[in-house]
């Protein structure tokens, strides 16, 4: 069974360790915050200028001067701080953020990522994604394994304009958890009920399968 977006987020949440500063991209990554274990200390950074981001405000408490990178109204937890965009990217570029989780339209087997532009069709811009992927030591991509037409989004080479080269370390898709290693996708875990064969068929890039591939824990 292919994972729902929530389940992808749930699985990624297990990668978030105690003491991590984490930047969450728009979309599935934003959901990760809901599934981080309660017994660890984590702080969320939003590149528009807040560290220590909390949940959405209660109805009526929303403040136009307090939003996240997705322009959603948010709250700040005790110990939070506000800062300007330059200092925010000092955190990112300076590798003070421990983990970056973001979405992708394509990922290649050498860790290239494309997520900001479809020539002639869609150009939203890269936002902070290029800074994040060029700087972060630990990048996890949350994505669908295939597009609506069933074509793989895990490729030998990206076909879309790149956001960054050689930077993605791990991909969690609706079908699998993979590590990028020596120019290949190394299969680590399968979604419950999804076979290795299914994953193989959905992956255009080089897929390395070593030994038994366990099912993901998305409890």
């Amino acid at each position: 069974m292919s994972l729902s977006k929530e389940q992808i987020a749930k699985r990624i949440a297990k990668e978030v360790k105690d003491g991590y500063y984490v930047n969450l991209g728009i979309g599935i990554p934003t959901l990760v915050a809901n599934f981080v274990q309660n017994d660890i200390d984590v702080e969320f950074q939003s590149e528009n200028g807040v560290l220590g981001m909390g949940p959405f405000p209660f109805e009526g408490d929303e403040d136009p001067d307090l939003i996240n990178a997705g322009k959603q109204t948010i709250t700040a937890l005790p110990g939070a701080s506000f800062f300007d965009s330059a200092l925010s990217f000092s955190m990112i570029r300076g590798q003070h953020v421990d983990l970056t989780i973001l979405g992708a339209m394509e990922v290649s087997q050498n860790g290239d990522i494309a997520n900001w532009k479809i020539p002639g069709k869609m150009v939203k811009g890269m936002g902070g994604a290029m800074d994040l992927v060029a700087s972060a030591e630990n990048i996890i991509v949350a994505m669908m394994h295939t597009n609506r037409a069933g074509a793989s989004k895990l490729l030998k080479d990206c076909s879309l304009p790149l956001t960054g080269v050689n930077c993605v370390k791990k991909v969690v898709s609706n079908l699998a958890v993979m590590e990028i290693e020596n120019g290949s996708f190394k299969l680590l875990e399968r979604a419950p009920g999804v076979s290795v064969e299914d994953i193989k068929n959905a992956t255009e890039g080089n897929l390395i399968i070593e030994g038994d591939i366990p099912e993901m824990d998305i409890s």
Binding site: V50, F56, E59, K71, S85, A86, M126, D131
Partner: protein
């Protein structure tokens, strides 16, 4: 104390001309210089280049200038919230330079700081790096980016005083401090112009030396782009 106060937004915008380059603070619709944008619309200044992280929405923020086709070129990092923008861009009416958000912030700060160029890893190996010098530092490739050059900077702050000192609030701070002093003339509008001496000198985010004109803004709409709330339990 050098007094930077001007009577209103009209005086603050004196000297604005067609074909100039503007910097505008704000992230999404948060912390945007609403009064100055309204004045740019009123003056119907044309052919301008705008350096701003976003391009507003269809009927607010820089979207108001886009509607009236006042903008020749946008330099931004993310423009996904504006249909008119997308239309003008895809049709070729509007020139667009998309750059990484951190590079945008740093190119503003570089202009403010007299740093003409710096290396950053952001964008290496992508379209953004085309035509730019690249160099390896610490085992990683970086590209050389230059400071922006702009004629006017439009800043929105929370509090300010006649000396031009500014304090920002929450995430409405964003690019505003980095753009102060990065253009030839910096125009700051504030929600509250307080008497000189009432701001704690330890807590001033931007000293007045970076600001040429300051005025008390009026009727801030402060529109929320994505209202997301929790139910009270």
């Amino acid at each position: 104390m050098i007094n930077k106060t001007v009577a209103n937004v009209q005086v603050a915008c004196e000297g604005i001309q067609d074909s100039m380059t503007f910097m505008l603070g704000g992230f999404g619709l948060s912390g945007i210089p609403e009064n100055s944008i309204a004045e740019l619309v009123r003056r119907n200044v044309k052919n301008v280049t705008c350096i701003s992280n976003n391009a507003g929405v269809d009927d607010f923020g820089l979207g108001l200038l886009l509607q009236k086709k006042q903008i020749k070129k946008m330099i931004s990092s993310y423009v996904g919230e504006n249909a008119e923008f997308e239309r003008q861009m895809l049709s070729g009416e509007l020139e667009v330079e998309l750059i990484p958000q951190g590079t945008l912030a740093q190119r503003c700060q570089a202009a403010q700081s007299g740093i003409p160029a710096f290396y950053t890893p952001a964008g290496y190996g992508t379209e953004v790096a085309e035509g730019k010098e690249a160099r390896e530092y610490n085992g990683k490739m970086h590209i050389l980016e230059e400071a922006f050059k702009a004629d006017f900077g439009f800043i929105k702050a929370w509090k300010g005083d006649a000396a031009g000192n500014l304090i920002f609030k929450g995430t409405a701070r964003n690019f505003n401090p980095n753009m102060c002093g990065a253009a030839k003339i910096t125009v700051a509008e504030v929600e509250e112009l307080v008497p000189v001496g009432t701001l704690d000198p330890n807590q001033i985010h931007i000293p007045g030396i970076f600001v040429q004109r300051i005025f008390q803004g009026s009727t801030y709409e402060k529109r929320i782009e994505q209202l997301t709330v929790r139910k009270r339990s």
